[in-house]
Symmetry: C2
Subunit: 195 residues, 2 copies
Amino acid sequence: MTRIGVFVFDGAEELDFVGPWEVLTMWAKSFPDDDVEVFTFAPGAEVVTCAKGLRVVPDQTIDTAGRIDVLVYPGGEGNRAHLSDDAIKGWLNKLAADGTLMTSVCTGSLVYAAAGLLDGRPAVTHWAYLEVLQGLGQRVDVRKDERFVDDGNVITAAGVSAGIDMALHLVQRLTSVERAREVKKLIQYDPQPPV
Amino acid sequence: MTRIGVFVFDGAEELDFVGPWEVLTMWAKSFPDDDVEVFTFAPGAEVVTCAKGLRVVPDQTIDTAGRIDVLVYPGGEGNRAHLSDDAIKGWLNKLAADGTLMTSVCTGSLVYAAAGLLDGRPAVTHWAYLEVLQGLGQRVDVRKDERFVDDGNVITAAGVSAGIDMALHLVQRLTSVERAREVKKLIQYDPQPPV
């Protein structure tokens, strides 16, 4: 069983986590033999109010979540407080040390950088925060033109909608390109931006 | 004030409504002078469990929502029950008659067709339901290759992720191509499917 925890918190940007959520839950539900579980979890059990006002009831808390094989850490204004939150940063370091595959979307990577997880490593974030990312951690190798950056046990994605692309990459990495293509087809991800 | 109601219900597909939600709330929040309000609403006030398990607390109910200038009606297995629900279909017909701009994502258009809103009109749905759509209503003109179809007071989108494209079109239609491009940039919607 691969357990994927999608972290939510007050001020998390909605599409940052629902994009990967859709990709990963479509994978889990459509291909039960792959033995994947996806759940939301939050610092506490109460209802989370996202950055644009969507209210979400988390499935688990940090304390009850259990083993997390893959973490999805979204961005959103609510995570700025995490930059100086030693409990959050310590928890992220412990997860990484314990072997969790750490993924982030948008400004989620700022917190990874502040926790020291990106020191000397390639990473990306929302286009408006590239300089902020550069100023966090030690010698982060900011890849401004990448949609997502896979550096082994840490995968960072660019802003908001980039989480969809990153999650499809994750399905491919954990299974096969064929499986990722099947999931892509199920969510009809043939984007045609009209503007 | 333009009031946009994003309908949610048990079994609604997550990205179907969070894609447009992100686009439309980013527009509303980033450009307050455009005077747009976006809210979720559901048949009742209780927590909604979406198709893949995400739990959402609706802001309003059908009874409390008030005027709805634009409706976003998502797909998801939960809306199959709406196909034969005369209360839902009657409500949709009343909204359309009262001047609401009716938009749908994915299999949301099946319910619009069942309600007679697509008789003799062009429309689209998730690729796996094109034949189902053809069999509902009277002479629906199914546009299988379109990402979304704008037919005046009804706009239908293809499957799941197509709601993002449709919502950007909606911003363009209600304001300008420049505004839609600004929203697109804020959500960094430069998709690069890796598979």
